[in-house]
Structure formats: structure tokens, C-alpha cells
Symmetry: C2
Subunit: 427 residues, 2 copies
């Protein structure tokens, strides 16, 4: 089979290559694989590794935290010890933290929901009373972010991504429109590109001057301590940067322990200016008496502090690192020489983002699925689920063991080659 | 001091009684008590009694439930075993259950919120697009219910309570107005009256024919297994009753384990027609990947089934029963002869609801507070926090040990007497 760029092949070579790759594909299909790489789901090995979580809080006498019995009602914003833990991880202040339940996604949804029904701190009017609400969506990005704002009827505006983060010239232009009410960001190991926003990008975000005074910078720091190779990469605190830039109420930062302890049973945080938190607590106080404080304390006892958290993340990295290496090695060996796709080389996060030549993503994933390998749907990383150039594929290597991952990547590489060859033959 | 009805006292007797009660009050004030009976908070004894919860799920091998690893992402509607447990407790079907996080309050808020932003299954339009939304509030009732609908800008309509539940003649008349979109109900051991809705009231609810086709019967079955004296009282399943009456989508039932296991770390349920659940899961799927399934499984392992739950409730009753007895005994001995208040004699739930003579509630609680006893604010049990006759006081006996409760009730009874005498002297 070819190890040179497909563009350089003669018509006869393309036919020969197509036959060879088709045969390979049929062989893989016959294996009847059943592999799921559709979501950034941690693996069983990671769950087992953190299962001391189950026993770390086992004695009623442990249930007092700062004088508060975590088993009972109360303490709306979360226990002080959990605020302190998250503040240390994010680099902000404990009083800027609201500690939530098992999902930062829910905190993000609820914030947007409250913007629509009640308005944010600086809103003149709840967003549901406006004719049009627009939201900026750097893409490729996280489908669940986009779906939240889509679900509330926002007009989603695609923001191009660069190697330094969202295209800030574009963003600065867009926010002049008062109907543009916010933007979705995953600033560290962005989903799916795995890039880290540059210091310059972050500075320009903090200094943004949106026309909408209730503009929401949705800063989903989902992978804040999620290096899978190398040491922890320090990251600036967006809350203080926005404060220093005279934009204290513009930013809402989110994080969780979903990929630190248990994905389904972690704790989450929303960090924002003290004034924002005070405003939101008045609204949240109608919805909740507090989130699960027993689980908050369980996390504090288990993770202890930033040092304890980073030590645990090293153990995750020992499991995750080889999986990413496997994906990148396969792409390097099987795809790189052919010139039919390119990708980033992340050092943290949960994804590898592959950009194929135009028009190959959907067909590649269709071929994968027919051969028993399910990946995130093509288009999912773009607003409304439509990738205008049909190029982006999000690979989530975390769930399968390395052996299965290798089998899945074999299917992926062959499917991508076959899709490229089909396209060449159709021309 | 007087043991006869105040109304029968001569002017001179009133003066004498006022002096005697004032002296008593000053004596109690001098004790510098600090007692909180403001909320239906379980006591430390109850928390300690259920603390096997902390160790019941301690081995990673236990984390598989119906083939699902509860530690990981997924299973939006909750684990099947938890649905089964709640279905048995409520008498409905597992597939009619959505299992949530630590608070049914949050489920109720979120349902109303989604009605406003997206509409309910049978809505023509989201409620936020309507000029006026009215909501029925049987009062005295639960302040947090009223506050949810108030927070969304609903007009709250007070529905009189009877010994059989809300005044159904009034309700049936009100629901002819298409702007009336729902009603708050606590059908068993209603908050605060502690009454159980009669079979006739429940039947009339199920057969309601509201003009609004998206009318929401908010059925908060918070005290479904919360007898504190005597055996479990079976209660009809409102979901099937509404289905049988041709109103399958009208009702949303809520319950939680907040007063079964840990108040701050229980699990909750919303039960509704399968069609309603299917509709809502589409919306909830944007907000959540699932609630905390580890805690759901922990509850299933701890409570096991209805039998296990009722056995635990007997233990709660052993702690709660004497407290209610203390409150009722004190009222009987100190207040009943004076004719200045009346009250129900609940056999379950978390409250004793005292109706004073007109205009005494606020002053009584002010006197209590000055003597170090904090109770639920006067008016809290009415829409907008305003009790039109200033009569209703909610006593929450659960938190303090019996000795403290006795001291608090002493303060309460003396404060009520003093308030009554002040009123008589002012006339």
C-alpha cells in the first residue's frame, strides 16, 4: 500500500490502492469489532484507581467540616473546605467559588437558563424578553456547550479556531453587536483541539469590551489539571485578569472533578466575581438548599489540596499517556505520509482532533461505524452539528484499553484512506 | 396564671395576667436561649442513626448495577434499581421515574424553569412568552414552593386549606382561567398542616379539567413514608389516577430521601407519565449527563426496598414521635384552655401548624426571637410571605433534642400568651 501522498498517485495507482485498502477494510469489518470512542469517558482502570473515594469518608465523626454537619441541610454555596480546594486549583479566591453537584455542565446550563428567565447581574432585561440572542461558538468545540445555547434559541455564530485559541480579531468585531451575549471557551487543552490558549489570547479576552454589558465569558476550565504527559502547566486565573481589566462581572469559570475522581459522581464549581456569586446565590437559593455536601467533603478528604490533586493526575496520566501515544503513532505511521489529514499533538485533555481533507469526515466515520467502531459524530464539534467543510473528527482515546484502541485506530486509518480514495475515484 | 379562656377575663384579670406572663417572659429571656426551629431539619440523632450510608457502598466491585458502572458517565434518567425503589415507594411504575440529585426542590424548580423557557409537553408556547401566568398556592403551605413560582413572576393565588386538603370548589373554579398554569400540593402530611388529603380531594384533583392544557399539578409527596406515630398509611398513586381520569400528562410527582437518609445528600425523584418523562429527558439531556449514580446505588443498597425503607422510618419515628408529643402536650396544657389558638394533631410529616387568634402570629414570633427562639417567620406559609390574618405559625420540632424543645415551647407558649394579652390591652 501507498506510503506517499495520495495527491501524487497516478490514476492507475489510485485504483490499485483502492483495491488494496478495500480488501483491508473488509478484513477488519469481518472481525466484528464493537468499540465505543464516542465520548471522553474515563476507563475502568481510572475508576478503579480512584475507588478509595468510596471509603475515604466512612465515620460519622468525620462529617463535621468547619463546624458544619455536612449530612444536614444548608450552606448553599458549598462547604468552605471545598471552595478552598477549588480556589487553589483554579488560582482564584474561595469566596469567588460556588460548589455544585456532580456536573459543571449543569452549572453552565443553569447559568444560561437564569440569564434567560431572570437576567444576569448586569442585565437590563432577562434574555427571554429579547428578540434575538447571539452566542459565539469557537469551532471545532464542545457539542454540549453549543447545544445548551441552541436549546434556548440563541443564534450560534461560529468563531474560527487558531493554534492560539479563538480568532480574537473576529471575536472583538463580533462583540460590538449588543445581541452577542457570550462565548463558549475551553481555555486549556481545548475540546477537541487540545491546544492551550496563548497568554495574548487570554489577555484579549480579559480586556474585551462587549457592547452587551451582561456579556458572559463562559470559561470552561474542564482540563485545568489534566496533563497526560509532562508536568502541570500553570495557567492564569481569568477571574483576577478580568477584575484587573475592569471587567470583573464578565467571566464565569467552570470546572469539576469528573475526570479527577468519578465521572458520574464528582463535584463541580462555578467561579465568578464575589458580586456575581452574591447575585446568583439569591437566585440559586430558590432552587436549592445546597448541593451534596457529603460528597464535597469526601472529595476534600480524598484530594486534600492542589498537591494531592496533581499527584493523582500523574496516576491518570500514566493510564492516559500511552493511549494518546498510540493514537498519534498510528496517525503518524498510517496517515501522515498520505497528506489526507492533519492534527494537533496535545499534551493534556481528552481528545485528538483530526482535520481530514475537505469532505471526508462523515464518510470516514460511516465506514468506521460499519466496521464496529463508534466515534463522535462528524459535525458534532460545530454549531448546529454541521461542519461546513466536513473535515473535523474528534478522537476520544480514554475509554478502551490500549489493545482495543489500537484495533479501533486501525479501523479509523483504513476508513479514512478508503474515504479519500472513494473521493478521488468519484472525481 | 389563668387557665380559663382569655375572652372570659375581666379587665382587671387581664392586667393581672399580663403582669404575671410578662414576668414569666422576662425570666425566660434571661436564660439567653439560642434555639433554632425555623426549618424542618432532621436532628443529629437521626443523622447518626442512618450513617451506615457512609459505608454501605465501599467496594469497587459493588459499583456495577444492572450491568452499568455507576461511577462513570451516562444513564440520564437514573439507574434502574433506583427507579424501581422509588416506584415501589410511590406506587407508580419504574419507567415513570426520573431519579435526580440531592434535592426534589431542584427538580421542581427545574420543571417550572423549563415550562418558562421551553414549555411543557402540552404547551403551545413557553410560559415566558405569555403576558400572565397564574399559579395556585394552597395556604398555609410550603414557602419554598411559593417562592419558586414567585421568582418566575407568576401571580400567586391563595387557595384556602380545609381539613381534607385544598378547597376543591375554589380550585375547580380557578382552573377555568387558561392563565392558571398549575398548583402546589403536599398531599400527605401537608406542610405545615400535617393533614392527609382525603380520597375525595385526590379524586377531584385527578379529574380536574383545567382550561390550560399544560396545567401542572405539582404533587410534592415529600412525606410519603413519614409517619411518626402508628403504621405506614397507604396512599393512592396520583400518576395512575390521572391516567385513568384521562389526564395522564397533568401531574408531576416529587419525593426524596432527604428525610429518610441524609437531608443534604439524599436522592430525589420526579414521577410523571412516560410521555412526560420522554419529553423532559430530551430537555434534561442538554443540562445533564446523569445525576450522581454512585449515591443512587448507595441508597438502593442501604434502603433495599419499601420494606427496608419503612423499617428505617420506624426508627425515625422513635426519635420524632416524642418531639411532636412534647409540642402537642405543651400546647394542650398551656394554650388550649385560653382559646387563643388552634392546631391540627398530625401523625406524620415535620410540622405542627398553629393558628392563633387574628393578628398574633408576627408578634408572637418576635417575642420568641427576642427570647432566643427562632421559628419560621410569620407569613412564610402564605404567598408573598403575607398571612392576611396574621394567624399561622409553623412549628418545626425535629431539630432540637426533647429537652431543648421543651424549653423552646415554653418560650413559645408564654410569647403567644403575652401577644394575646398585649392585643387585649391595646383595644
Amino acid at each position: 500500500m501507498s506510503k506517499i501522498a495520495y495527491a501524487a498517485l497516478s490514476a492507475a495507482d489510485v485504483n490499485r490502492e483502492f483495491d488494496a485498502v478495500s480488501k483491508l477494510y473488509e478484513g477488519l469489518k469481518a472481525k466484528n469489532l464493537k468499540l465505543d470512542m464516542s465520548r471522553g469517558k474515563p476507563s475502568k482502570a481510572q475508576l478503579d484507581m480512584t475507588s478509595d473515594m468510596l471509603t475515604t469518608l466512612s465515620d460519622p465523626a468525620q462529617c463535621l467540616s468547619d463546624g458544619l454537619d455536612v449530612r444536614n441541610y444548608g450552606e448553599l454555596a458549598g462547604i468552605p473546605a471545598a471552595k478552598k480546594l477549588f480556589a487553589e486549583i483554579l488560582g482564584c479566591r474561595p469566596e469567588e467559588c460556588y460548589v455544585g453537584g456532580n456536573a459543571s455542565l449543569t452549572l453552565m446550563y443553569d447559568l444560561i437558563s437564569k440569564a434567560f428567565t431572570h437576567g444576569l447581574k448586569n442585565s437590563d432585561t432577562p434574555w427571554c424578553k429579547l428578540d434575538k440572542v447571539k452566542f459565539l461558538c469557537p469551532a471545532p468545540g464542545y457539542d454540549r456547550h453549543f447545544r445548551i445555547t441552541e436549546s434556548f434559541g440563541c443564534e450560534l455564530i461560529t468563531v474560527p479556531m487558531t493554534a492560539e485559541g479563538p480568532d480574537m480579531d473576529f471575536v472583538e468585531e463580533q462583540v460590538k453587536d449588543p445581541a452577542v451575549k457570550g462565548i463558549w471557551c475551553v481555555p486549556k487543552y481545548s475540546n477537541p483541539d487540545g491546544i492551550i490558549y496563548s497568554a495574548e489570547t487570554i489577555r484579549r479576552f480579559a480586556e474585551l469590551k462587549p457592547a452587551a454589558k451582561d456579556f458572559a465569558l463562559m470559561w470552561d476550565n474542564a482540563y485545568c489539571v489534566h496533563e497526560f504527559t509532562g508536568d502541570y502547566v500553570p495557567f492564569p486565573d481569568i477571574i483576577s485578569l478580568c477584575r484587573e481589566a475592569g471587567n470583573p462581572d464578565m467571566v464565569y469559570e467552570f470546572a469539576s472533578t469528573s475526570k479527577i475522581t468519578f465521572p458520574g459522581a464528582g463535584i463541580s464549581v462555578m467561579a465568578a466575581s464575589e458580586e456575581n456569586i452574591a447575585y446568583l446565590l439569591k437566585l440559586i437559593g430558590v432552587q436549592s438548599i445546597s448541593c451534596d455536601k457529603v460528597n464535597q467533603l469526601r472529595h476534600v478528604l480524598y484530594l486534600k489540596d492542589m498537591e494531592g490533586t496533581l499527584a493523582l493526575m500523574k496516576k491518570h496520566a500514566a493510564i492516559m499517556g500511552p493511549k494518546f501515544l498510540c493514537v498519534l503513532d498510528m496517525l503518524d505511521a498510517e496517515i501522515a505520509p498520505l497528506g489526507i489529514a492533519e492534527w494537533q499533538r496535545p499534551t493534556g485533555g481528552y481528545f485528538v482532533s483530526v482535520n481530514t481533507a475537505k469532505g471526508l469526515a462523515k464518510r470516514t466515520l460511516e465506514l468506521c461505524r460499519e466496521a464496529g467502531v463508534v466515534m463522535t459524530s462528524a459535525g458534532a464539534t460545530f454549531p448546529y452539528g454541521v461542519d461546513p467543510e466536513d473535515r473535523n473528527i474528534r478522537i476520544a482515546p480514554s475509554l478502551p484499553p490500549v489493545e482495543e484502541l489500537k484495533a479501533a485506530m486501525e479501523v479509523f486509518c483504513v476508513s479514512l484512506r478508503l474515504a479519500a480514495l472513494e473521493q478521488m475515484l468519484a472525481k
